[in-house]
Every structure is written in C-alpha cells, then in structure tokens.
C-alpha cells in the first residue's frame, strides 16, 4: 500500500508541475525574449530557449521609449492611494454589515453586492462626468476616485469579521471599549489575513488597469505604466518588435513579481485563510 500511495503522490506532483509549466510559459517567454537580440530572420522568435548571446539592447530601447521613473511613481501613487482609502472604507463597511443591527441591513448589503455585476466600461461616461464636475479631470486622484469604495472588499471583510468569535468583542466591551476601539484594537488585528488578501487583489488590479486611466488622463506626466507601455508597444496595423515589447512588459511586471516572491509565504497563507483564489 505505501508504494501505491507513493506512486499517486508522484503522479500528483507531475500533474501539478505540468500545470505550473503551462501557467508560467508566458512569463518564461517574456523573460527569454526580453534578453534576445532583435532578429526577424530566424524562427527562434517564439522559442523558449534562452539565446546564447543575451543582450540588454531591448531594455535600453524600452527605457528610452518612455519616462519609466515617472510611470512607476504615478502607478505606485495610484495603487497606494486607492488601497489606503479602500482599507478604511471596506473595514468600516464590512464591520457595519457583519456586526451592527439595523433595519434592511441584508437588503442594503445585497444591493451593494450588485455592483459586482456591473461591467466597468459601462460606467466610463457617468464617472467621467462626475470627475469633471469635481474638477479632477486629468489628475491622479481621478484615476483613484471611482475605486475608493469596493463591493468585493466589503464582502470580503464582512465574511472575515463574521469568522471571528464574538467572545473577543464581548471581552473588550466588558473592559469598556467603544465600537471604534473594538474595530481598531480587536477586529482589525484578527482580520489581517483578509486585508492582505484584499490588498493583493486591489494592487494587482490597479497596477494592470488600462482603460480608465487612458480615459481620464491626458497629460503625459500623469500617465501610468500600462499606458506608457502601450504607447510604444502596440500597433493595430503592423507587426511588433517582440523583444522591446517583452522588455517593456518585464519592466512593468517586475515589481509585482518581485513583491510576490518576497512575501510569497504570507500571501499564500492569507489566501488560504480568506478563501480567495
């Protein structure tokens, strides 16, 4: 029996490895192509094998094609700005829906969840009208504003709070804590895995976002990474310089990849805890 169990285990590992390979192929190709010399003559463009003479020329051209320092800074500002406001709003709203008793609570909550059903492009014009009305057109704040509240985040935090036994809060109440103290000193520390999981989803989504920043930003000084990348790599009517595209994409994706590698264990634990996949 142990032998059979051992076999099954190897089989599982082999299958997982195969799936992992399929998932990582685009990343692998991106890395290899980014360092490959420009060459349309050969068929090796699509090859996953690294070139024998790696070059940094693609990176030089990509860096020369856009002001990456500014793009990084803008993207960081947008992601950090959105996340910090979101953490406040989703925590408070999640607490309200999880713990406070008020009339129509569940109805309001489900209405809130309905937002998840709306395709974002539908909201471009109404959002833009609001942004112009607020005098925010063509500012980084305008890129962030529509995301300050998040239905997904509220849902996640509500579920997270509900898994925390009430005993903790009751103990705090006995000690004389008010609701704000309960949220800040008891629930938030216990809900940290949920917040980390939400942070990853939020930062990845806004780091990669293209359409809304393109709509609301006109001044090149306010562009984010995705727009900067697109401005020199995309072409509808023509072929592409794959090496430069790969290098540019590498530059855009690298910070997220690095962050994920560094904090991998914590991320995985958070996802397991919160049930987000």
């Amino acid at each position: 029996m142990p032998a059979a169990a051992q076999d099954g285990r190897w089989l599982a590992v082999a299958m997982l490895a195969a799936v992992a390979l399929v998932w990582s192929t685009p990343l692998l190709w991106m890395t290899v192509a980014a360092f490959r010399p420009q060459n349309f003559g050969g068929l090796d463009m699509a090859s996953l094998l690294p070139d024998f003479a790696p070059t940094l020329a693609n990176f030089a051209e990509a860096l020369d094609s856009a002001d990456f320092a500014r793009l990084y800074l803008n993207t960081l500002a947008v992601c950090a700005g959105i996340l910090s406001v979101q953490l406040a709003t989703v925590t408070l709203a999640g607490y309200a829906f999880a713990r406070l008793q008020f009339r129509g609570r569940d109805l309001v909550f489900y209405l809130f969840l309905l937002q998840l059903m709306i395709v974002p492009p539908v909201l471009i014009v109404p959002n833009l009208v609001t942004i112009v009305g607020l005098g925010l057109y063509d500012t980084l704040l305008a890129v962030m504003a529509p995301y300050f509240a998040s239905a997904f985040g509220v849902f996640l935090m509500r579920q997270t709070f509900r898994t925390i036994p009430r005993d903790f809060e009751e103990a705090a109440m006995v000690e004389g804590a008010n609701w704000a103290q309960i949220v800040w000193r008891v629930l938030v520390p216990l809900a940290r895995p949920g917040m980390v999981a939400f942070a990853i989803v939020s930062v990845t989504a806004h780091w990669n976002e293209f359409l809304w920043p393109l709509m609301v930003i006109s001044n090149p000084d306010n562009h984010t990474l995705t727009i900067g990348l697109a401005s020199f790599t995309r072409g509808a009517e023509s072929a592409s310089q794959w090496g430069v595209i790969a290098a540019g994409t590498f530059l855009v994706a690298a910070p997220l990849l690095a962050a994920f590698t560094l904090f991998q264990r914590q991320f995985v634990n958070s996802f397991l805890f919160s049930g987000v996949k």
Binding site: F40, L128, N219, P220, H223, I227, G235, S238, A239, W242
Partner: protein, 437 residues
C-alpha cells in the same frame, strides 16, 4: 515701503509678461495605429509646431488604438472636456456627425478664402467620401492607407513564379498560394497566404476582398445599410474558407495582424495582406526580399481606404477653434504630410506632398511606395454606418467562426446581416423608416 512698491511693480511686470505670452492651450488626441516609434515622432512634430507657433501650446495626448481613441474622445465630449483636435479613424467621423458632436470645417475654410471644393481638391479623391458628406466638410485626412499584397520574392523564385509579375486575379492568387505552400507530409511548414483575423483589421481586409469581387459592402450615401448577405460578400468569404480548408494554403483560426507580419519576416508565410501603414516597418525588416502588389481582383480592382483624419469636436472657445484649425492645416500641409508618410509608410493625403523633391527622391528609391500610391486610383470610401464598430464586429465574429471551421459562409453571412440590421435599427427607424403619418 520701497520694497513693497518694487514687489508690486515686479508682480505687475511678470503678470503683463505672462499675459503677453499667454498661449492658447489645446489638446490633440492621437492614436498609435502602427508599429514603430510613432508616439515619439508625434511628440517631436508637436514640439516643432509649438516652437513655430508662439501663441499656441499643443499637448499631444496618446490615446491608445483607434477604438480606444474613439471611446476616450466620446467620453471626453460627453463629460464636457473635448480636445481641440483628434486624429480619428476615418470611418468613425460619420457617427460624430450623426450625433452632432463635431464642427463642420466649412466656415473656417471659407475664412481662409477657399471654397469647400478647392479645399477638398488638395486631397486624393478616394479620401473625400469619409471626410465630406451631408453637404459639409467634417474632417481633414491626415494619414491614409490601403491594403496591399506583400510577397516574399525569394519564395517566388523558389516556387518558379515571377517576382516581377505578382498575381493580379484571384485565380493567379490561389495558384501562387498553392505553389508557395510547403508541406512536410500532412504538416504545413510554410503557408502560401496569411491574413490578419483580429478585430478592425479583419473587417477591413474583408472589405477589400468584397470590393474586389464587385461588392459595395455598405451604402456610402446612407448610414443605415450594409450589404453582408450578398453574392459579392459570399464569394469573398468563400475564397477565405477555400484557402483554409480546401486548398490548405492559409492557417486555420484567427491570426493577429502582428503575428501575420512576424510570420512574413520569419519566412513562415509567402504572401500576406496588410496595410500600407506597415510599409516602412516591413521595409526595415525585409530589406529587398519582398515585393508589393495590388489586392488581387475577381471582378474588378477595388479596395477601401484606411487610416485617420483630423476632426474638431464641438464645445471649443473661438481661440481654441482658431488654434485647432492652425494645427490641422499644419499637420496636413504638404511638407509635414510628406514627412509623416516617409516615416510611417502611410501615403500622404495631401497631393502636393508628392511634388516636393524629398518625396520624388523617396519614391524613386522605394518603388514599393509607388505601388501603394498607384492603387489609390482604385480606392473607395471606408465602411461607415450608425454604430460602426458594433456593425463591423457583427461581421467579424461570423468570419472568425468560418475561419475556425465552425460555420459555413452562407449561414455566417445571413447571421451577420441579421445582427447588423438589428444594431442599426434605432437609426433606421429614425430615418428611412420614419414615414409620414
């Protein structure tokens, strides 16, 4: 007291100085539809414009692809922040006119002492249909293209074909594609012909094939009709199906335009149908190993133009309008038009560009650019209707299904026609079907 006075004086001086130099600030939305450092070159051009025009300060705003530029422009207009000028896909102009969102240029043209006829006469006749309609001039052509047949000369020689005599008819075209395809048993190692199957590009290539087959594709006079379910379109789509599934000279499924040109560079495809906008890029990568030819004909030579025009949204101040008009005239001048054409491969819409010595020398050195220009004589207006993008996608989805082997041409076209009619219905009901009570 003294310092206070001098401060005020200094303030007044700097204020009047800044007033004197208060340039009219405007924005130009521009898409990057082709590969190459187009975004960088557009910024160079606008910098040059700004130095030459001290009273105008233009900000060039990159706005993505043609479709994204369309979305952003529409949203900006609806939000009350219209740009002063937009380089807009030439076939989207009609919708802005239908929606009443752009300024006719006639008043500005007359203020320059020109008639609308004289103004339009600057541009190639094939470009007039997408710029001047409903009795007014709505746009100024900026860079334009037609689809071309690019072929690999070395493969032609290898296959015993004459590279100086590329296929001109569909029969010659299919024969050449068969001769050029290389097989290793059942596996195809080199395709005789490839065409881009991605949105926008596919619709445009289908237009070229249908028009070469005698078709009109759409009603150029009225934005509520397309001719999808017709013999001319059926012939064109059947040709594509046959090349994939009967002759097996074209890969099955949807190939992106970028992948098509990459396959051409790599020698994996011997003939491809791509835009003149790719000409400079292909020249850079293929050297003298390629040739270009007209899109082959079945009934006649005909293709649709592509490319973009400059248009002016409504809602601008008089100063902005004047600045925008100066910019539009500068960008479409023979000199800039010619420069942009040599940089990209698009032909210059302004005919006078070809009288300049730089352009004459360029055409002599690059006869392939001359072929593109010659085909202009057979070019027609580009498909434009109410809700152009959705009507176009109605066809493209069905053509893609045929290319993947999921649908037969006849049923695909019937479905595409029904879908397109449904999309145009609101407009048709407001116009052609709005009858006296």
């Amino acid at each position: 007291m003294q310092t206070w006075k001098s401060l005020v004086a200094a303030g007044a001086v700097s204020l009047s100085a800044s007033l004197a130099h208060a340039a009219t600030e405007i924005e130009l939305f521009f898409p990057v539809p082709v590969e190459g450092k187009l975004a960088a070159e557009m910024k160079n051009l606008i910098e040059r414009f700004n130095t030459e025009h001290a009273d105008i300060d233009v900000t060039p705003v990159y706005t993505g692809s043609y479709d994204e530029t369309n979305i952003k422009t529409r949203a900006a207009i609806k939000a009350g922040r219209p740009p002063a000028a937009v380089i807009m896909s030439a076939n989207f102009i009609l919708e802005y006119q239908i929606n009443g969102e752009i300024e006719p240029l006639d008043g500005l043209i007359e203020a320059n002492g020109l008639t609308a006829d004289a103004y339009m006469d600057r541009f190639w006749p094939a470009l007039h249909g997408n710029a001047r309609f409903a009795d007014k001039v709505w746009a100024a052509p900026f860079h334009n293209s037609t689809p071309l047949l690019y072929f690999n000369k070395e493969h032609f020689v290898e296959a015993g074909l004459d590279p100086e005599n590329p296929p001109a008819t569909w029969q010659e075209f299919v024969d050449a594609a068969k001769a050029l395809t290389v097989r290793d048993g059942d596996r195809i190692t080199r395709y005789g012909f490839m065409l881009p199957g991605n949105y926008d590009y596919l619709g445009w290539i289908m237009t070229a094939l249908t028009m070469s087959n005698g078709g009109q594709y759409y009603n150029a006079e009225y934005g509520g009709e397309v001719y999808y379910d017709t013999p001319s379109m059926l012939g064109a789509l059947s040709l594509v199906r046959d090349m994939i599934f009967t002759h097996k000279v074209t890969p099955e499924g949807v190939t992106d335009g970028k992948a098509v040109s990459t396959a051409f560079f790599a020698g994996d495809a011997s003939m491809v149908m791509l835009s003149t906008g790719s000409l400079s890029f292909i020249r850079e990568n293929m050297g003298d190993r390629y040739g270009v030819a007209f899109v082959p004909r079945n009934v006649r030579n005909a293709v649709a133009i592509g490319g973009a025009s400059l248009m002016m949204p409504k809602g601008l101040s008089d100063d902005q309008k004047a600045a925008s008009w100066t910019l539009i005239n500068w960008l479409t001048s023979p000199e800039i038009s010619g420069h942009w054409s040599r940089f990209t491969g698009y032909f210059a819409p302004n005919r006078a560009a070809y009288d300049l010595s730089e352009m004459k020398g360029f055409l002599e050195a690059n006869p392939d650019a001359q072929v593109a220009l010659d085909q202009l004589a057979y070019a027609r207006s580009w498909f434009a209707t109410f809700n152009t993008v959705a009507v176009r996608k109605a066809l493209e989805d069905e053509v893609q299904a045929v290319m993947s082997g999921d649908r037969e041409p006849a049923e695909a076209l019937a479905a595409a026609q029904a879908k397109a009619d449904e999309i145009m219905r609101p407009y048709v009901e407001q116009t052609a079907l709005k009858l006296p009570q």
